[in-house]
Symmetry: C2
Subunit: 294 residues, 2 copies
Amino acid sequence: MNDRKQQVIIKAHELFIDRGFQATSIQDILDYTNISKGTFYNYFSSKNELLIALFKSLLEEMETKRNSLMTGKDAANIDVFKKQIETQMNTNRKNRLLTLFEEVVLSPDEDIKEYIKESQARMLQWVYHRFEDLFSVDSKPYLLDCAIMFLGILHQNTKYYARTHGSTVNIQLVVNYTVNRIEKIVKEVTDSGEQLIEPDDLKNWLPDAELKDQSRKEQLNYAVLCMKKKLKGSADCSHYYELLEFIRDEFTQSNEPRYHLMKSALTTLQTTIPESVTEDLMKIEEIIGGQARA
Amino acid sequence: MNDRKQQVIIKAHELFIDRGFQATSIQDILDYTNISKGTFYNYFSSKNELLIALFKSLLEEMETKRNSLMTGKDAANIDVFKKQIETQMNTNRKNRLLTLFEEVVLSPDEDIKEYIKESQARMLQWVYHRFEDLFSVDSKPYLLDCAIMFLGILHQNTKYYARTHGSTVNIQLVVNYTVNRIEKIVKEVTDSGEQLIEPDDLKNWLPDAELKDQSRKEQLNYAVLCMKKKLKGSADCSHYYELLEFIRDEFTQSNEPRYHLMKSALTTLQTTIPESVTEDLMKIEEIIGGQARA
DNA sequence: GATTAAATTGAACCGATGGTATAAACTGTT
DNA sequence: AACAGTTTATACCATCGGTTCAATTTAATC
Protein backbone atom coordinates (compact mmCIF):
# COMPACT_ATOMS: atom_id res chain seq x y z
CA MET A 1 0.00 0.00 0.00
CA ASN A 2 0.98 3.57 -0.68
CA ASP A 3 3.21 4.95 2.05
CA ARG A 4 1.38 8.22 2.25
CA LYS A 5 -2.00 6.54 2.33
CA GLN A 6 -0.84 4.43 5.25
CA GLN A 7 0.35 7.59 6.95
CA VAL A 8 -3.08 9.16 6.55
CA ILE A 9 -4.66 6.10 8.15
CA ILE A 10 -2.28 6.31 11.10
CA LYS A 11 -2.80 10.03 11.59
CA ALA A 12 -6.57 9.70 11.29
CA HIS A 13 -6.41 6.90 13.85
CA GLU A 14 -4.75 9.31 16.29
CA LEU A 15 -7.62 11.72 15.84
CA PHE A 16 -10.19 8.97 16.24
CA ILE A 17 -8.53 7.87 19.46
CA ASP A 18 -8.88 11.15 21.23
CA ARG A 19 -12.09 12.50 19.71
CA GLY A 20 -13.92 9.45 18.43
CA PHE A 21 -14.84 8.71 14.83
CA GLN A 22 -18.06 10.65 14.55
CA ALA A 23 -16.62 13.70 16.25
CA THR A 24 -13.72 14.09 13.81
CA SER A 25 -14.68 15.62 10.49
CA ILE A 26 -12.91 15.02 7.23
CA GLN A 27 -11.69 18.59 7.43
CA ASP A 28 -10.02 17.75 10.74
CA ILE A 29 -8.18 14.91 9.05
CA LEU A 30 -7.14 17.12 6.12
CA ASP A 31 -5.75 19.75 8.48
CA TYR A 32 -3.97 17.23 10.68
CA THR A 33 -2.41 15.25 7.83
CA ASN A 34 -1.74 18.21 5.54
CA ILE A 35 -3.33 16.66 2.51
CA SER A 36 -5.95 18.13 0.25
CA LYS A 37 -9.51 17.02 -0.04
CA GLY A 38 -8.78 15.79 -3.55
CA THR A 39 -6.05 13.48 -2.33
CA PHE A 40 -8.24 12.18 0.44
CA TYR A 41 -10.95 11.10 -1.95
CA ASN A 42 -8.30 9.71 -4.23
CA TYR A 43 -7.23 7.40 -1.43
CA PHE A 44 -10.60 6.62 0.09
CA SER A 45 -13.99 6.78 -1.52
CA SER A 46 -15.55 7.89 1.77
CA LYS A 47 -14.85 8.56 5.41
CA ASN A 48 -16.33 5.17 6.21
CA GLU A 49 -13.96 3.41 3.85
CA LEU A 50 -11.04 4.99 5.63
CA LEU A 51 -12.38 3.51 8.82
CA ILE A 52 -12.67 0.07 7.28
CA ALA A 53 -9.11 0.35 6.00
CA LEU A 54 -8.04 1.23 9.52
CA PHE A 55 -9.95 -1.73 10.92
CA LYS A 56 -8.32 -4.10 8.47
CA SER A 57 -4.89 -2.83 9.34
CA LEU A 58 -5.46 -3.08 13.08
CA LEU A 59 -7.07 -6.50 12.98
CA GLU A 60 -4.30 -7.90 10.82
CA GLU A 61 -1.72 -6.62 13.29
CA MET A 62 -3.69 -8.13 16.13
CA GLU A 63 -4.04 -11.53 14.49
CA THR A 64 -0.37 -11.84 13.62
CA LYS A 65 0.63 -10.85 17.14
CA ARG A 66 -1.86 -13.31 18.59
CA ASN A 67 -0.68 -16.12 16.35
CA SER A 68 3.00 -15.45 16.90
CA LEU A 69 2.42 -16.14 20.58
CA MET A 70 1.38 -19.67 19.63
CA THR A 71 4.20 -20.89 17.43
CA GLY A 72 6.16 -23.59 19.13
CA LYS A 73 3.99 -23.42 22.23
CA ASP A 74 1.59 -26.04 23.50
CA ALA A 75 -1.86 -25.23 22.17
CA ALA A 76 -3.46 -27.00 25.14
CA ASN A 77 -1.66 -24.84 27.68
CA ILE A 78 -4.10 -22.45 29.30
CA ASP A 79 -1.37 -19.94 30.12
CA VAL A 80 -0.62 -19.52 26.44
CA PHE A 81 -4.29 -18.71 25.90
CA LYS A 82 -4.29 -16.23 28.76
CA LYS A 83 -1.27 -14.50 27.31
CA GLN A 84 -2.94 -14.31 23.92
CA ILE A 85 -6.10 -12.77 25.31
CA GLU A 86 -4.11 -10.39 27.43
CA THR A 87 -2.09 -9.21 24.46
CA GLN A 88 -5.19 -8.66 22.42
CA MET A 89 -6.83 -6.70 25.18
CA ASN A 90 -3.80 -4.49 25.51
CA THR A 91 -3.37 -3.67 21.83
CA ASN A 92 -7.10 -3.21 21.68
CA ARG A 93 -7.07 -0.73 24.51
CA LYS A 94 -4.17 1.12 22.95
CA ASN A 95 -5.92 1.31 19.58
CA ARG A 96 -9.44 1.78 20.91
CA LEU A 97 -10.51 -0.88 18.45
CA LEU A 98 -13.56 -2.07 20.35
CA THR A 99 -14.53 1.51 21.12
CA LEU A 100 -14.46 2.36 17.44
CA PHE A 101 -16.40 -0.80 16.68
CA GLU A 102 -19.11 0.14 19.13
CA GLU A 103 -19.27 3.66 17.83
CA VAL A 104 -20.20 2.63 14.30
CA VAL A 105 -21.63 -0.87 14.62
CA LEU A 106 -25.11 0.59 14.36
CA SER A 107 -24.36 3.32 11.85
CA PRO A 108 -26.57 3.46 8.77
CA ASP A 109 -23.64 2.26 6.63
CA GLU A 110 -24.25 -1.35 5.62
CA ASP A 111 -20.64 -2.05 4.64
CA ILE A 112 -19.35 -1.11 8.05
CA LYS A 113 -22.03 -3.08 9.84
CA GLU A 114 -21.28 -6.15 7.76
CA TYR A 115 -17.55 -5.82 8.28
CA ILE A 116 -17.86 -5.54 12.04
CA LYS A 117 -20.23 -8.47 12.23
CA GLU A 118 -17.74 -10.55 10.30
CA SER A 119 -14.86 -9.47 12.49
CA GLN A 120 -16.75 -10.36 15.62
CA ALA A 121 -17.67 -13.74 14.19
CA ARG A 122 -14.03 -14.32 13.32
CA MET A 123 -12.95 -13.48 16.84
CA LEU A 124 -15.62 -15.81 18.16
CA GLN A 125 -14.43 -18.52 15.83
CA TRP A 126 -10.89 -18.11 17.03
CA VAL A 127 -11.90 -18.45 20.66
CA TYR A 128 -14.01 -21.48 19.77
CA HIS A 129 -11.09 -23.21 18.08
CA ARG A 130 -8.77 -22.35 20.93
CA PHE A 131 -11.29 -23.89 23.30
CA GLU A 132 -11.15 -27.02 21.19
CA ASP A 133 -7.41 -27.07 21.86
CA LEU A 134 -7.88 -26.45 25.55
CA PHE A 135 -10.75 -28.69 26.56
CA SER A 136 -11.69 -32.32 26.14
CA VAL A 137 -13.70 -33.62 23.21
CA ASP A 138 -16.63 -34.31 25.52
CA SER A 139 -17.09 -30.57 25.84
CA LYS A 140 -17.07 -29.85 22.13
CA PRO A 141 -20.85 -29.49 21.65
CA TYR A 142 -20.84 -26.78 24.30
CA LEU A 143 -17.74 -24.87 23.34
CA LEU A 144 -19.47 -22.39 21.08
CA ASP A 145 -21.81 -21.48 23.91
CA CYS A 146 -18.78 -21.13 26.14
CA ALA A 147 -16.90 -18.99 23.64
CA ILE A 148 -19.88 -16.68 23.40
CA MET A 149 -20.21 -16.45 27.16
CA PHE A 150 -16.48 -15.98 27.56
CA LEU A 151 -16.44 -12.93 25.33
CA GLY A 152 -19.49 -11.53 27.07
CA ILE A 153 -17.99 -11.94 30.51
CA LEU A 154 -14.62 -10.60 29.43
CA HIS A 155 -16.14 -7.54 27.84
CA GLN A 156 -18.36 -6.76 30.77
CA ASN A 157 -15.65 -7.40 33.37
CA THR A 158 -13.13 -5.10 31.73
CA LYS A 159 -15.76 -2.43 31.30
CA TYR A 160 -16.67 -2.26 34.96
CA TYR A 161 -13.21 -3.06 36.27
CA ALA A 162 -11.95 -0.06 34.32
CA ARG A 163 -14.71 2.04 35.80
CA THR A 164 -13.28 1.59 39.30
CA HIS A 165 -9.57 1.39 38.53
CA GLY A 166 -9.43 4.02 35.81
CA SER A 167 -6.72 3.82 33.20
CA THR A 168 -4.36 1.99 35.53
CA VAL A 169 -6.23 -1.24 34.98
CA ASN A 170 -4.46 -4.52 35.47
CA ILE A 171 -5.66 -6.40 32.42
CA GLN A 172 -3.86 -9.54 33.48
CA LEU A 173 -6.03 -9.75 36.58
CA VAL A 174 -9.25 -9.47 34.65
CA VAL A 175 -8.15 -12.01 32.06
CA ASN A 176 -7.06 -14.43 34.73
CA TYR A 177 -10.33 -14.10 36.61
CA THR A 178 -12.38 -14.51 33.45
CA VAL A 179 -10.47 -17.55 32.20
CA ASN A 180 -10.78 -19.17 35.61
CA ARG A 181 -14.52 -18.74 35.43
CA ILE A 182 -14.90 -20.09 31.93
CA GLU A 183 -12.89 -23.19 32.82
CA LYS A 184 -15.46 -24.03 35.46
CA ILE A 185 -18.34 -23.13 33.20
CA VAL A 186 -17.08 -25.50 30.53
CA LYS A 187 -16.96 -28.28 33.08
CA GLU A 188 -20.38 -27.47 34.49
CA VAL A 189 -22.08 -27.18 31.14
CA THR A 190 -20.52 -30.41 29.93
CA ASP A 191 -21.87 -32.19 32.99
CA SER A 192 -25.35 -30.78 32.71
CA GLY A 193 -25.48 -31.30 28.96
CA GLU A 194 -27.32 -28.04 28.33
CA GLN A 195 -26.75 -26.52 24.93
CA LEU A 196 -28.00 -23.18 23.65
CA ILE A 197 -26.42 -22.89 20.22
CA GLU A 198 -25.22 -25.63 17.89
CA PRO A 199 -21.52 -25.11 17.01
CA ASP A 200 -22.33 -25.73 13.35
CA ASP A 201 -24.27 -22.47 13.31
CA LEU A 202 -20.98 -20.65 13.56
CA LYS A 203 -20.43 -21.40 9.88
CA ASN A 204 -23.45 -19.34 8.89
CA TRP A 205 -21.95 -16.22 10.45
CA LEU A 206 -18.79 -16.29 8.37
CA PRO A 207 -18.27 -15.54 4.69
CA ASP A 208 -17.65 -18.50 2.38
CA ALA A 209 -14.03 -17.59 1.64
CA GLU A 210 -13.25 -17.67 5.34
CA LEU A 211 -14.86 -21.08 5.58
CA LYS A 212 -12.89 -22.72 2.79
CA ASP A 213 -9.76 -21.30 4.32
CA GLN A 214 -10.71 -22.69 7.68
CA SER A 215 -11.60 -26.11 6.35
CA ARG A 216 -8.27 -26.38 4.57
CA LYS A 217 -6.50 -25.57 7.81
CA GLU A 218 -8.46 -28.28 9.55
CA GLN A 219 -7.64 -30.77 6.81
CA LEU A 220 -3.95 -30.03 7.10
CA ASN A 221 -4.07 -30.24 10.85
CA TYR A 222 -5.64 -33.66 10.58
CA ALA A 223 -3.23 -34.86 7.89
CA VAL A 224 -0.23 -33.83 9.95
CA LEU A 225 -1.70 -35.56 12.97
CA CYS A 226 -2.15 -38.83 11.02
CA MET A 227 1.32 -38.67 9.64
CA LYS A 228 2.89 -38.04 13.03
CA LYS A 229 1.06 -41.05 14.39
CA LYS A 230 2.41 -43.25 11.59
CA LEU A 231 5.95 -41.95 12.01
CA LYS A 232 5.92 -42.50 15.75
CA GLY A 233 8.82 -44.66 16.87
CA SER A 234 10.68 -44.55 13.58
CA ALA A 235 14.26 -43.37 13.31
CA ASP A 236 14.68 -39.58 12.93
CA CYS A 237 11.15 -39.28 14.25
CA SER A 238 11.80 -36.00 16.09
CA HIS A 239 13.45 -34.64 12.96
CA TYR A 240 10.31 -35.26 10.93
CA TYR A 241 8.14 -33.82 13.67
CA GLU A 242 10.06 -30.58 13.63
CA LEU A 243 9.51 -30.11 9.91
CA LEU A 244 5.87 -31.17 10.02
CA GLU A 245 5.06 -28.91 12.93
CA PHE A 246 6.72 -26.00 11.21
CA ILE A 247 4.59 -26.52 8.13
CA ARG A 248 1.47 -26.83 10.22
CA ASP A 249 2.14 -23.67 12.26
CA GLU A 250 3.10 -21.65 9.20
CA PHE A 251 0.01 -22.72 7.29
CA THR A 252 -2.56 -22.47 10.02
CA GLN A 253 -1.31 -19.47 11.96
CA SER A 254 0.31 -17.01 9.59
CA ASN A 255 -1.77 -14.55 7.64
CA GLU A 256 0.54 -14.87 4.68
CA PRO A 257 2.20 -18.29 4.88
CA ARG A 258 5.68 -18.36 3.32
CA TYR A 259 4.92 -20.73 0.50
CA HIS A 260 8.48 -21.42 -0.59
CA LEU A 261 9.63 -22.18 2.92
CA MET A 262 6.89 -24.76 3.33
CA LYS A 263 7.69 -26.18 -0.09
CA SER A 264 11.33 -26.52 0.92
CA ALA A 265 10.42 -28.36 4.10
CA LEU A 266 8.17 -30.66 2.10
CA THR A 267 10.96 -31.49 -0.33
CA THR A 268 13.30 -32.30 2.52
CA LEU A 269 10.71 -34.61 3.97
CA GLN A 270 10.02 -36.27 0.64
CA THR A 271 13.65 -37.34 0.28
CA THR A 272 14.01 -38.69 3.81
CA ILE A 273 10.79 -40.19 5.11
CA PRO A 274 9.96 -43.89 4.83
CA GLU A 275 8.07 -44.88 1.71
CA SER A 276 5.08 -45.99 3.71
CA VAL A 277 3.96 -42.41 4.32
CA THR A 278 4.71 -40.76 0.99
CA GLU A 279 1.04 -40.86 0.19
CA ASP A 280 0.20 -38.84 3.30
CA LEU A 281 2.86 -36.34 2.35
CA MET A 282 1.35 -35.88 -1.09
CA LYS A 283 -1.96 -35.23 0.57
CA ILE A 284 -0.36 -32.46 2.61
CA GLU A 285 1.28 -30.99 -0.47
CA GLU A 286 -2.07 -30.96 -2.21
CA ILE A 287 -3.76 -29.07 0.60
CA ILE A 288 -1.06 -26.46 0.72
CA GLY A 289 -0.88 -26.18 -3.06
CA GLY A 290 -4.16 -24.35 -3.40
CA GLN A 291 -2.92 -21.69 -1.06
CA ALA A 292 0.02 -20.69 -3.29
CA ARG A 293 0.54 -17.01 -3.94
CA ALA A 294 2.01 -15.29 -6.99
CA MET B 1 -46.45 16.08 30.40
CA ASN B 2 -48.14 17.64 27.39
CA ASP B 3 -50.27 15.15 25.50
CA ARG B 4 -49.01 16.24 22.13
CA LYS B 5 -45.40 16.17 23.27
CA GLN B 6 -45.87 12.60 24.42
CA GLN B 7 -47.39 11.77 21.05
CA VAL B 8 -44.31 13.18 19.31
CA ILE B 9 -42.09 10.99 21.46
CA ILE B 10 -44.13 7.91 20.59
CA LYS B 11 -44.20 8.67 16.88
CA ALA B 12 -40.48 9.45 16.84
CA HIS B 13 -39.91 6.18 18.62
CA GLU B 14 -41.66 4.35 15.79
CA LEU B 15 -39.29 5.96 13.32
CA PHE B 16 -36.25 5.15 15.44
CA ILE B 17 -37.36 1.53 15.63
CA ASP B 18 -37.35 0.92 11.91
CA ARG B 19 -34.59 3.29 10.79
CA GLY B 20 -32.42 3.85 13.82
CA PHE B 21 -31.81 7.13 15.59
CA GLN B 22 -29.01 8.52 13.47
CA ALA B 23 -30.74 7.64 10.24
CA THR B 24 -33.93 9.55 11.03
CA SER B 25 -33.64 13.28 10.57
CA ILE B 26 -35.63 15.89 12.40
CA GLN B 27 -37.39 16.59 9.12
CA ASP B 28 -38.52 12.95 9.04
CA ILE B 29 -40.03 13.40 12.48
CA LEU B 30 -41.76 16.64 11.48
CA ASP B 31 -43.30 15.01 8.41
CA TYR B 32 -44.37 11.91 10.30
CA THR B 33 -45.88 13.73 13.27
CA ASN B 34 -47.29 16.67 11.31
CA ILE B 35 -45.81 19.29 13.56
CA SER B 36 -43.72 22.25 12.58
CA LYS B 37 -40.07 22.74 13.31
CA GLY B 38 -40.93 25.57 15.67
CA THR B 39 -43.11 23.30 17.78
CA PHE B 40 -40.45 20.64 17.83
CA TYR B 41 -37.86 23.00 19.25
CA ASN B 42 -40.48 24.30 21.63
CA TYR B 43 -40.84 20.79 23.03
CA PHE B 44 -37.24 19.66 22.87
CA SER B 45 -34.11 21.74 22.83
CA SER B 46 -32.42 19.26 20.52
CA LYS B 47 -32.81 15.92 18.81
CA ASN B 48 -30.71 14.37 21.53
CA GLU B 49 -32.99 15.68 24.25
CA LEU B 50 -35.93 14.02 22.55
CA LEU B 51 -34.01 10.78 22.72
CA ILE B 52 -33.33 11.19 26.41
CA ALA B 53 -37.01 11.92 27.00
CA LEU B 54 -37.81 8.71 25.15
CA PHE B 55 -35.30 6.79 27.22
CA LYS B 56 -36.78 8.08 30.45
CA SER B 57 -40.27 7.12 29.38
CA LEU B 58 -39.25 3.63 28.29
CA LEU B 59 -37.12 2.91 31.34
CA GLU B 60 -39.83 4.05 33.69
CA GLU B 61 -42.31 1.75 31.99
CA MET B 62 -39.85 -1.09 32.21
CA GLU B 63 -39.13 -0.58 35.89
CA THR B 64 -42.77 -0.44 36.88
CA LYS B 65 -43.51 -3.57 34.89
CA ARG B 66 -40.55 -5.32 36.41
CA ASN B 67 -41.49 -4.32 39.92
CA SER B 68 -45.14 -5.19 39.52
CA LEU B 69 -44.07 -8.76 38.86
CA MET B 70 -42.57 -8.84 42.34
CA THR B 71 -45.40 -7.62 44.55
CA GLY B 72 -46.71 -10.37 46.69
CA LYS B 73 -44.26 -12.89 45.25
CA ASP B 74 -41.37 -14.54 47.00
CA ALA B 75 -38.25 -12.49 46.32
CA ALA B 76 -36.08 -15.57 46.79
CA ASN B 77 -37.89 -17.55 44.11
CA ILE B 78 -35.70 -17.90 41.06
CA ASP B 79 -38.68 -18.31 38.74
CA VAL B 80 -39.89 -14.85 39.68
CA PHE B 81 -36.48 -13.51 38.69
CA LYS B 82 -36.56 -15.39 35.41
CA LYS B 83 -39.96 -13.96 34.63
CA GLN B 84 -38.73 -10.47 35.42
CA ILE B 85 -35.72 -10.78 33.15
CA GLU B 86 -37.81 -12.33 30.42
CA THR B 87 -40.32 -9.50 30.57
CA GLN B 88 -37.60 -6.92 30.40
CA MET B 89 -35.99 -8.62 27.44
CA ASN B 90 -39.30 -8.71 25.61
CA THR B 91 -40.26 -5.10 26.14
CA ASN B 92 -36.70 -4.20 25.35
CA ARG B 93 -36.80 -6.05 22.07
CA LYS B 94 -40.12 -4.47 21.22
CA ASN B 95 -38.81 -1.00 21.97
CA ARG B 96 -35.29 -1.52 20.69
CA LEU B 97 -34.07 0.10 23.87
CA LEU B 98 -30.68 -1.58 23.98
CA THR B 99 -30.21 -1.02 20.28
CA LEU B 100 -30.84 2.69 20.72
CA PHE B 101 -28.50 2.72 23.70
CA GLU B 102 -25.72 1.13 21.68
CA GLU B 103 -26.29 3.48 18.81
CA VAL B 104 -25.60 6.61 20.83
CA VAL B 105 -23.62 5.43 23.84
CA LEU B 106 -20.46 6.69 22.17
CA SER B 107 -21.90 9.76 20.52
CA PRO B 108 -20.10 13.05 21.15
CA ASP B 109 -23.01 14.20 23.32
CA GLU B 110 -21.95 14.12 26.96
CA ASP B 111 -25.48 14.24 28.37
CA ILE B 112 -26.51 11.14 26.51
CA LYS B 113 -23.36 9.28 27.45
CA GLU B 114 -23.84 10.13 31.10
CA TYR B 115 -27.48 9.16 31.06
CA ILE B 116 -26.81 5.78 29.50
CA LYS B 117 -24.00 5.05 31.91
CA GLU B 118 -26.33 5.80 34.80
CA SER B 119 -29.09 3.64 33.38
CA GLN B 120 -26.73 0.73 32.94
CA ALA B 121 -25.46 1.13 36.47
CA ARG B 122 -29.03 1.20 37.73
CA MET B 123 -29.83 -2.01 35.87
CA LEU B 124 -26.70 -3.56 37.31
CA GLN B 125 -27.69 -2.45 40.77
CA TRP B 126 -31.10 -3.98 40.38
CA VAL B 127 -29.65 -7.34 39.36
CA TYR B 128 -27.21 -7.14 42.24
CA HIS B 129 -29.98 -6.57 44.75
CA ARG B 130 -32.07 -9.32 43.27
CA PHE B 131 -29.09 -11.64 43.61
CA GLU B 132 -28.97 -10.68 47.27
CA ASP B 133 -32.54 -11.91 47.51
CA LEU B 134 -31.79 -15.10 45.63
CA PHE B 135 -28.50 -16.31 47.05
CA SER B 136 -27.06 -16.92 50.49
CA VAL B 137 -25.20 -14.29 52.48
CA ASP B 138 -21.95 -16.19 52.01
CA SER B 139 -22.08 -15.25 48.36
CA LYS B 140 -22.62 -11.55 48.95
CA PRO B 141 -19.04 -10.38 48.33
CA TYR B 142 -19.17 -11.99 44.91
CA LEU B 143 -22.62 -10.97 43.80
CA LEU B 144 -21.56 -7.79 42.04
CA ASP B 145 -19.09 -9.78 39.98
CA CYS B 146 -21.87 -12.23 39.24
CA ALA B 147 -24.34 -9.51 38.30
CA ILE B 148 -21.78 -8.07 35.89
CA MET B 149 -21.09 -11.46 34.36
CA PHE B 150 -24.78 -12.27 34.20
CA LEU B 151 -25.56 -9.22 32.11
CA GLY B 152 -22.57 -9.93 29.87
CA ILE B 153 -23.62 -13.50 29.26
CA LEU B 154 -27.25 -12.60 28.76
CA HIS B 155 -26.44 -9.88 26.27
CA GLN B 156 -24.04 -12.02 24.29
CA ASN B 157 -26.31 -15.07 24.32
CA THR B 158 -29.33 -13.21 23.01
CA LYS B 159 -27.20 -11.55 20.35
CA TYR B 160 -25.95 -14.78 18.86
CA TYR B 161 -29.07 -16.79 19.55
CA ALA B 162 -31.00 -14.22 17.55
CA ARG B 163 -28.44 -14.49 14.78
CA THR B 164 -29.40 -18.12 14.18
CA HIS B 165 -33.08 -18.07 15.03
CA GLY B 166 -33.94 -14.70 13.52
CA SER B 167 -36.87 -12.76 14.89
CA THR B 168 -38.63 -15.89 16.07
CA VAL B 169 -36.34 -16.11 19.06
CA ASN B 170 -37.51 -17.89 22.15
CA ILE B 171 -36.37 -15.44 24.81
CA GLN B 172 -37.52 -17.73 27.59
CA LEU B 173 -35.02 -20.35 26.49
CA VAL B 174 -32.12 -17.94 26.53
CA VAL B 175 -33.07 -16.51 29.91
CA ASN B 176 -33.48 -19.96 31.38
CA TYR B 177 -30.10 -21.08 30.07
CA THR B 178 -28.38 -17.95 31.30
CA VAL B 179 -29.91 -18.05 34.77
CA ASN B 180 -28.98 -21.71 35.09
CA ARG B 181 -25.39 -20.80 34.33
CA ILE B 182 -25.20 -17.90 36.74
CA GLU B 183 -26.57 -20.05 39.56
CA LYS B 184 -23.64 -22.40 39.16
CA ILE B 185 -21.20 -19.54 38.77
CA VAL B 186 -22.36 -18.00 42.03
CA LYS B 187 -21.76 -21.29 43.78
CA GLU B 188 -18.38 -21.80 42.16
CA VAL B 189 -17.12 -18.30 42.82
CA THR B 190 -18.28 -18.46 46.44
CA ASP B 191 -16.33 -21.67 46.92
CA SER B 192 -13.17 -20.42 45.28
CA GLY B 193 -13.36 -17.05 47.04
CA GLU B 194 -12.15 -15.13 43.99
CA GLN B 195 -13.34 -11.56 43.78
CA LEU B 196 -12.79 -9.09 40.97
CA ILE B 197 -14.76 -6.04 42.03
CA GLU B 198 -15.77 -4.94 45.51
CA PRO B 199 -19.60 -4.54 45.74
CA ASP B 200 -19.09 -1.19 47.45
CA ASP B 201 -17.69 0.18 44.21
CA LEU B 202 -21.19 0.03 42.79
CA LYS B 203 -22.01 3.13 44.80
CA ASN B 204 -19.49 5.19 42.85
CA TRP B 205 -21.28 4.48 39.59
CA LEU B 206 -24.59 5.90 40.71
CA PRO B 207 -25.63 9.50 41.32
CA ASP B 208 -26.03 10.60 44.93
CA ALA B 209 -29.82 10.98 44.76
CA GLU B 210 -30.14 7.39 43.66
CA LEU B 211 -27.97 6.30 46.55
CA LYS B 212 -29.92 8.04 49.30
CA ASP B 213 -33.06 6.59 47.79
CA GLN B 214 -31.58 3.13 47.82
CA SER B 215 -30.26 3.37 51.34
CA ARG B 216 -33.68 4.44 52.61
CA LYS B 217 -35.22 1.42 50.95
CA GLU B 218 -32.70 -0.82 52.64
CA GLN B 219 -33.40 0.80 56.00
CA LEU B 220 -37.10 0.25 55.62
CA ASN B 221 -36.61 -3.30 54.50
CA TYR B 222 -34.55 -3.96 57.62
CA ALA B 223 -36.97 -2.17 59.93
CA VAL B 224 -39.91 -4.19 58.61
CA LEU B 225 -37.92 -7.36 59.02
CA CYS B 226 -37.13 -6.56 62.67
CA MET B 227 -40.70 -5.70 63.40
CA LYS B 228 -42.03 -8.86 61.83
CA LYS B 229 -39.65 -10.85 63.97
CA LYS B 230 -40.89 -9.15 67.12
CA LEU B 231 -44.53 -9.61 66.18
CA LYS B 232 -44.09 -13.28 65.41
CA GLY B 233 -46.52 -15.42 67.37
CA SER B 234 -48.63 -12.56 68.63
CA ALA B 235 -52.37 -12.42 68.03
CA ASP B 236 -53.43 -10.87 64.72
CA CYS B 237 -49.90 -11.55 63.55
CA SER B 238 -50.88 -12.24 59.91
CA HIS B 239 -52.97 -9.10 59.92
CA TYR B 240 -49.97 -6.97 60.85
CA TYR B 241 -47.81 -8.78 58.29
CA GLU B 242 -50.21 -7.93 55.52
CA LEU B 243 -50.09 -4.25 56.30
CA LEU B 244 -46.32 -4.19 56.83
CA GLU B 245 -45.61 -6.05 53.62
CA PHE B 246 -47.85 -3.73 51.70
CA ILE B 247 -45.94 -0.72 52.99
CA ARG B 248 -42.63 -2.37 52.19
CA ASP B 249 -43.60 -3.30 48.63
CA GLU B 250 -45.14 0.05 47.92
CA PHE B 251 -42.12 1.92 49.21
CA THR B 252 -39.36 -0.18 47.74
CA GLN B 253 -40.88 -1.18 44.44
CA SER B 254 -43.07 1.59 43.16
CA ASN B 255 -41.59 4.50 41.29
CA GLU B 256 -44.10 6.83 42.87
CA PRO B 257 -45.17 5.32 46.19
CA ARG B 258 -48.73 6.27 47.16
CA TYR B 259 -47.85 8.24 50.23
CA HIS B 260 -51.36 8.52 51.66
CA LEU B 261 -52.06 4.83 51.32
CA MET B 262 -48.92 4.01 53.27
CA LYS B 263 -49.81 6.64 55.85
CA SER B 264 -53.23 5.08 56.25
CA ALA B 265 -51.76 1.63 56.78
CA LEU B 266 -49.39 3.06 59.33
CA THR B 267 -52.21 4.67 61.27
CA THR B 268 -54.13 1.41 61.31
CA LEU B 269 -51.07 -0.33 62.66
CA GLN B 270 -50.45 2.33 65.27
CA THR B 271 -53.88 1.83 66.80
CA THR B 272 -53.71 -1.97 66.91
CA ILE B 273 -50.19 -3.24 67.48
CA PRO B 274 -48.83 -4.09 70.92
CA GLU B 275 -47.07 -1.25 72.72
CA SER B 276 -43.75 -3.07 72.71
CA VAL B 277 -43.19 -2.30 69.05
CA THR B 278 -44.49 1.25 68.75
CA GLU B 279 -40.91 2.46 68.69
CA ASP B 280 -40.14 0.33 65.62
CA LEU B 281 -43.24 1.68 63.94
CA MET B 282 -42.14 5.24 64.53
CA LYS B 283 -38.83 4.36 62.94
CA ILE B 284 -40.66 3.17 59.85
CA GLU B 285 -42.77 6.28 59.74
CA GLU B 286 -39.65 8.39 59.94
CA ILE B 287 -38.02 6.62 57.01
CA ILE B 288 -41.08 7.00 54.83
CA GLY B 289 -41.67 10.57 55.90
CA GLY B 290 -38.75 11.97 53.95
CA GLN B 291 -40.21 10.49 50.82
CA ALA B 292 -43.43 12.51 51.00
CA ARG B 293 -44.60 14.26 47.87
CA ALA B 294 -46.55 17.46 47.49
C1' DG C 1 17.26 17.84 -19.77
C1' DA C 2 12.93 17.38 -22.18
C1' DT C 3 8.64 14.53 -22.39
C1' DT C 4 5.08 12.36 -20.34
C1' DA C 5 2.21 10.16 -17.08
C1' DA C 6 0.72 10.22 -12.50
C1' DA C 7 -0.25 12.21 -8.15
C1' DT C 8 -1.68 16.29 -5.71
C1' DT C 9 -3.82 20.55 -4.99
C1' DG C 10 -7.41 23.84 -3.91
C1' DA C 11 -11.43 25.91 -4.75
C1' DA C 12 -16.08 25.90 -6.23
C1' DC C 13 -20.06 23.41 -5.74
C1' DC C 14 -23.96 20.13 -4.11
C1' DG C 15 -27.74 18.44 -1.03
C1' DA C 16 -28.83 17.37 3.55
C1' DT C 17 -28.24 18.03 8.24
C1' DG C 18 -29.16 20.16 13.05
C1' DG C 19 -30.40 24.29 14.76
C1' DT C 20 -32.09 29.54 15.02
C1' DA C 21 -35.11 33.51 14.41
C1' DT C 22 -39.39 35.57 13.70
C1' DA C 23 -43.64 37.25 12.10
C1' DA C 24 -48.11 35.58 11.37
C1' DA C 25 -52.02 32.49 12.45
C1' DC C 26 -54.51 29.94 15.65
C1' DT C 27 -56.20 28.46 20.32
C1' DG C 28 -58.75 28.75 24.60
C1' DT C 29 -59.81 31.83 28.78
C1' DT C 30 -61.70 35.46 31.30
C1' DA D 1 -63.50 41.38 22.50
C1' DA D 2 -59.00 41.13 24.45
C1' DC D 3 -55.56 38.43 26.00
C1' DA D 4 -51.60 35.17 26.43
C1' DG D 5 -49.80 31.00 24.98
C1' DT D 6 -49.20 27.81 21.43
C1' DT D 7 -48.41 26.56 16.82
C1' DT D 8 -47.20 27.41 12.16
C1' DA D 9 -44.57 28.52 8.05
C1' DT D 10 -40.66 30.27 6.12
C1' DA D 11 -36.31 32.06 5.55
C1' DC D 12 -31.86 31.57 7.23
C1' DC D 13 -27.31 29.79 9.22
C1' DA D 14 -22.95 26.95 9.62
C1' DT D 15 -21.27 22.55 8.97
C1' DC D 16 -21.14 18.17 7.23
C1' DG D 17 -19.84 14.44 3.74
C1' DG D 18 -19.15 14.15 -0.82
C1' DT D 19 -18.28 15.56 -6.06
C1' DT D 20 -16.03 17.78 -9.81
C1' DC D 21 -12.31 19.65 -12.25
C1' DA D 22 -8.77 22.56 -14.01
C1' DA D 23 -4.26 23.73 -12.54
C1' DT D 24 -0.02 22.52 -10.51
C1' DT D 25 3.61 19.62 -8.71
C1' DT D 26 6.11 15.31 -8.64
C1' DA D 27 8.44 11.47 -10.45
C1' DA D 28 9.79 8.20 -13.95
C1' DT D 29 11.12 7.57 -18.85
C1' DC D 30 13.84 8.17 -22.78
